[in-house]
């Protein structure tokens, strides 16, 4: 087997294009120091959106790639509105020096995600995953004058290295048991039947390898027990990077999980041992993730940290889709990710706006927004309502789908009622902590003397578009299929 026979160059064209653009921007940053850095941000975001456009239909059609590129473009746009803080935290004294790469690097990470979506074997999967992760380490620690950012970078690096270690170990076991890196139903079939040697121990080793591979994916999506990095890194990393990690990088994790699990789908039919093992372990992980994410979020006062826990909790809900081991799960995961991405990105835009103008990322910094900026407050309300799953927002529809999946899993496996109970309880706690922001905006009086927020252009556009999309798709979910 060689790489050319499994893949065509054409598959990676969008990824190459993005890497090329990133390289150009970094070169330009080094050679033309006079140009304003925001120009790079504009070009990089535009490049990402163009790539996303090509991924909607046709030759490069790519569901998860679309979400990842759009999220990358949006997080670069977020950096565009965030330049004041960027300059303070990178070069100091409002100097733009050294900020150019910060706008170009997300493109490289995004290219990694695009390769990841095409990966059909573990080598490609590993390499592209590392492209994403390594770039993210740099981005997380990029605000070198900000202690939190450096701490986040280090923590992410160490814990990420640990998860990479587990992943590589898993890959080694996989190769040892199967003799191939290919992820396909045939490989799984032969391994489950003891491979060439025909030994049952081989099947056990294969499952062990699978578990370790899953652990690598769990790290990316922030599922228990590999979620530990999320709160600290999300809180400390620069807000645009956090937005990237929360959406694009999470989408990458789900791509990995999907491509790891789908080869098992034909053999994991209801009633089979393999099916029971897979589904039970996913259910346990989902339940733990739901509990940790949602309960941990309850007492947070820092909005970025809260969104970190929220991203753990939402990942728990997405994991529930994996109880239904069919190809259709990809579509459901995509829908949920779309709803989550729209709402989360707007939330980060709001955080960035408040941080730039009020100097704080605490929930308390949002107080009185309902009075001073009623329209913006409404748009923020829509995104948090969608995260909580209020009817008539897209968040409700996708959460409803997770419940439908859980119910059909209960029917198929005659088990997992406990998971449904946990889902109901944790969905309820979601209302508690997401609505803390709304309480702060509407029920608390604005601080005297604090002026109304000035909403930057990109923030206004993104908040409006995503709130509109959340409401329209939430009232008429059937439009998602057009």
């Amino acid at each position: 087997m060689n790489i050319v026979s499994t893949y065509t160059w054409c598959q990676f064209a969008p990824a190459f294009a993005l890497v090329g653009l990133a390289a150009l921007l970094i070169l330009a940053d080094a050679l033309l120091p006079k140009l304003p850095k925001r120009l790079y941000a504009g070009i990089a975001a535009l490049g990402a959106f163009v790539a996303a456009f090509f991924m909607t239909t046709g030759e490069y059609a790519n569901l998860f790639g679309f979400i990842a590129t759009v999220a990358t473009g949006l997080s670069i746009l977020l950096a565009f509105d965030y330049t004041k803080v960027c300059c303070e935290s990178i070069a100091g004294n409002g100097n733009e020096e050294g900020t150019g790469e910060f706008y170009a690097l997300p493109l490289v990470a995004c290219a990694g995600i695009l390769c990841l979506t095409q990966a059909r074997d573990l080598v490609m999967l590993f390499v592209s995953l590392e492209v994403v992760t390594l770039t993210s380490y740099v981005l997380a620690g990029y605000f070198r004058r900000n202690q939190g950012s450096i701490e986040a970078g280090i923590k992410y690096l160490v814990l990420g290295a640990m998860s990479t270690g587990i992943l590589v170990y898993g890959i080694a076991w996989y190769f040892g048991m199967v003799g191939s890196f290919t992820l396909s139903a045939e490989t799984v079939y032969s391994a489950l039947n003891g491979g060439v040697a025909g030994s049952p121990a081989l099947a056990f080793g294969f499952l062990l390898a699978t578990a370790m591979l899953f652990a690598g994916a769990f790290f990316k999506i922030g599922a228990a027990p590999m979620h530990v990095w999320i709160p600290d890194v999300y809180q400390g990393a620069p807000t645009p990077t956090t937005a990237f990690l929360a959406v694009a990088s999470k989408a990458a994790g789900f791509v990995v999980l999907c491509s790891l699990i789908l080869p098992y789908a034909p053999f994991a039919t209801p009633g089979s041992l393999l099916g029971r093992i897979l589904v039970t372990s996913i259910a346990i992980v989902a339940a733990a993730t739901l509990l940790i994410g949602n309960l941990g979020a309850m007492r947070q006062t820092n909005l970025k940290r809260l969104l970190g826990y929220s991203s753990i909790g939402q990942a728990g809900f997405i994991l529930v889709f994996f109880l239904q081991l069919q190809v259709s799960l990809e579509q459901n995961v995509y829908d949920y990710l779309l709803a989550y991405a729209l709402a989360t990105i707007s939330a980060f835009f709001a955080v960035a706006m408040v941080r730039t103008q009020r100097g704080s990322e605490e929930i308390a910094a949002f107080r009185g927004l309902g009075k001073t900026n009623p329209r913006t407050a409404f748009l923020i309300t829509v995104s948090f309502a969608s995260l909580a799953g209020v009817p008539l927002t897209l968040g409700f529809i996708v959460k409803l789908k997770t419940f439908v999946t859980a119910v059909s899993a209960i029917q198929n496996w005659d088990n997992f009622c406990w998971l449904l109970v946990i889902m109901v309880l944790t969905a309820a706690t979601g209302f508690y902590y997401y609505f803390k922001v709304l309480r702060s905006m509407y029920w608390e009086k604005p601080q005297p003397g604090v002026p109304a927020l000035r909403v930057p252009l990109c923030t206004a556009i993104v908040l409006t578009l995503s709130a509109t999309a959340l409401i329209i798709l939430g009232t008429l979910p059937l439009l998602m299929r057009f």
Binding site: I154, K155, V158, L159, M162, S163, I166, F204, L207, L208, A211, A215, A224, P225, M226, V228, W229, P231, D232, L273, R276, I277, T280, S281, I284, V285, A288, L291, I292, L295, G296, A297, M298, R299, I397, L400, K401, V404, V407, S408, Q411, T429, Y432, L476, P477, L478
Partner: protein
């Protein structure tokens, strides 16, 4: 992708999108908003005419709105395109378009936000079309609530006026009472018929116990009682006249209030008449009959031109509901259809008169209008003739159909119908004599001038419809009923009786009010008149006893439960427990890298052990 079969969805999407645009983007451009709304109404009317004249685009797509693990519990969105629905759409979009057009003249110079007004009209068109085209009860219910919402917005359009804001609230809440029963009825239908889809209900009634059927139908009927303002929930309709008059014409006379009748007939058609047990039918018919009688009596002593028409609407709706109860859906829909045209005409005529008399609504301050605005008065008289069922006008044919059906089923209802017809003639002639004849009694009426073009044109079109729409050659093609066929007219008891009641009404009105020379009502001043003017004290009873006593007491009890039990014990306890567990989570999240790695590693080991255990 060929989407032509989805063309009918434009009936819903067009007004909805226009409403959204009017509301969000065109707040500062009322003219543009008006044009857009008008165009969307015209486009839906055009589409409707195209379908009625034979356009075929195949079956419109059915979409799952809310997925569910059980197929029959999923909420689907689909459209029915049978004659009952499409011809009803003609009434809705036709009158809708005329009302949009009329509004341009009527609302000219109004200082309120007109974009909001047109957005409200468009959202009403969307909601009403949803009710008419819905292929299942859940979708009907969505439309049902949406018309309630749009009616709330439009009644309260002049929300600075306390009476308008109160009337909007009253309409909404009264409707909610009926809707509660309707929702129960829908759930019962789902439970016992196993489907909410109209197409699948046929023949299922046979296997269901009559008592269950009765309860189901009566619960569903509750929805109609609220929306079609039947006794005892009729109180909101007269107050709803606080809204702009074109709104009253469209929503509170021609279309929305008829939705209850439409829904009942739709159920009768799809469940089959055998689903309507005798008890249920009696309840429906008696409710209709009582409404018809008390509304007609109350109309006799009203002075406000719009309120007279509102009570007359109540009374006519009572006729239709009575016909449904007599299992004469065909007659009910016939009357709904003719009533829609002539009642819209009467309301728009009243609107033109009100505007020309400088917002004067009291008929005793009008007078002599037939000389000053002859065209409007002529159109109004056409509507009156149709309403009091003078032979040759549309109302005559449909009222005869109902009286025929009543005589065949139960003569009691026949005599009630005849009595109401006499009262109708009396109060309508009272209105016409006082407002149009004799000398002008106030400045407004003295300076009244003919209505402008935008108001006159809809009146003329509606006047034509009020005259001709009842004749067989038109009615057969336009009455919203599957396979409607106008009966041949025959002389007989119903004809003579209705002629008798017509003559009685005319004679009484002439005897009491003469030819318009009186300046105040000779019937006023006694205790009966006072009771009628106070709407038989029904509203007062609701206010004092039900709302003031029962509801407040219940509210206090619920507040106590809410504060003490739910908030105090359940919520606080749950929050306390969850926050403690949250502390545990954040204790693990202490910030130390070593602890993090340890947590991950231990977690993984536990997971692997659990897995190995499965073997």
């Amino acid at each position: 992708m060929n989407m032509i079969h989805n063309l009918p969805w434009l009936f819903l999407l067009l007004p909805l999108v226009v409403a959204a645009i009017d509301w969000v983007c065109l707040n500062k451009h009322p003219r543009l908003a008006a044009t857009l709304s008008l165009l969307s109404a015209a486009a839906t009317l055009g589409l409707c005419i195209a379908y009625l004249t034979g356009l075929q685009t195949g079956t419109p797509g059915v979409y799952t709105w809310m997925p569910c693990s059980l197929e029959q519990l999923c909420l689907h969105l689909g459209l029915v395109m049978d004659p009952l629905a499409m011809r009803m759409m003609l009434v809705v979009t036709g009158i809708g378009l005329l009302v949009h057009f009329f509004s341009i003249g009527y609302m000219k110079g109004d200082s309120s936000n007109l974009s909001r007004y047109y957005a409200g009209l468009s959202i009403f068109m969307f909601s009403m079309s949803t009710i008419v085209l819905a292929d299942n009860l859940a979708m009907t219910f969505i439309g049902w609530e949406m018309v309630g919402f749009s009616s709330y917005l439009l009644i309260g359009h002049w929300f600075n006026k306390a009476s308008a804001a109160d009337a909007a609230k009253k309409a909404f809440i009264t409707n909610r009472v009926g809707d509660f029963g309707f929702l129960l009825g829908i759930l019962l239908t789902l439970g016992f018929f196993g489907t909410m889809n109209f197409a699948d209900m046929a023949g299922k009634a046979a296997g269901i116990a009559p008592a269950v059927l009765t309860v189901t139908i009566v619960c569903l009927f509750c929805g109609a009682v609220g929306k079609s303002a039947q006794f005892p929930l009729h109180v909101w309709l007269p107050d709803a006249m606080e809204g702009p008059t074109p709104v009253s014409a469209l929503i509170h006379a021609a279309t929305m209030v008829a939705a209850g009748v439409y829904m009942l007939v739709r159920l009768q058609v799809s469940m089959g008449v055998e689903a309507f047990t005798d008890t249920a039918c009696n309840i429906i018919a008696w409710t209709g009959a009582i409404t018809a009688v008390i509304a007609a009596i109350m109309a006799v002593q009203q002075d406000d031109i719009k309120r007279i028409l509102a009570y007359s609407t109540l009374s006519q709706l009572g006729y239709m509901v009575m016909a449904v109860g007599l299992l004469a859906g065909e007659a009910a829909m016939f009357h709904l259809y003719t009533h829609a045209w002539f009642k819209a005409l009467l309301f728009l005529g009243a609107g033109a008169i009100i505007i020309c008399c400088h917002h004067e609504q009291d008929i005793w301050k009008m007078g002599g209008l037939s000389k000053r605005m002859p065209l409007t008065v002529l159109c109004f008289m056409m509507g009156t003739c149709a309403l009091i069922a003078i032979p040759g006008f549309s109302g005559f044919f449909s009222k005869e159909a109902i009286l025929d059906a009543a005589l065949a089923k139960n003569p009691v209802f026949f005599w009630i119908g005849a009595g109401v017809a006499a009262l109708t003639t009396f109060y309508m002639l009272r209105l016409c004599i006082v407002a149009f004849m004799g000398p002008a009694r106030d400045h407004g009426a003295e300076h009244a001038k003919e209505a402008g073009f935008t108001m006159a044109l809809p009146l003329l079109i509606l006047a034509v419809m009020a005259v001709i729409s009842g004749y067989g050659f038109i009615a057969n093609d336009l009455v919203p009923f599957n396979g409607f066929h106008a009966h041949g007219f025959a002389l007989g008891l119903p004809f003579y009786v209705s002629m008798g009641s017509l003559a009685l009404g005319i004679l009484l009105a002439l005897a009491i009010y003469g030819l318009g020379s009186r300046t105040k009502d000779p019937l006023a001043g006694n205790c009966i008149s006072k009771a009628l003017r106070n709407r038989l004290y029904i509203d007062a009873l609701y206010d004092k006893v039900i709302i003031g006593g029962l509801q407040q007491g219940f509210a206090h009890l619920m507040e106590f439960l809410d504060m003490f039990l739910i908030r105090g014990i359940i919520c606080q306890l749950l929050v306390w427990i969850s926050v403690r567990i949250g502390y545990l989570c954040s204790w693990l999240q202490c910030g130390s890298l070593r602890a993090y790695s340890l947590v991950s590693a231990i977690g993984l080991v536990i997971l692997l052990l659990l897995l190995a255990n499965q073997f």
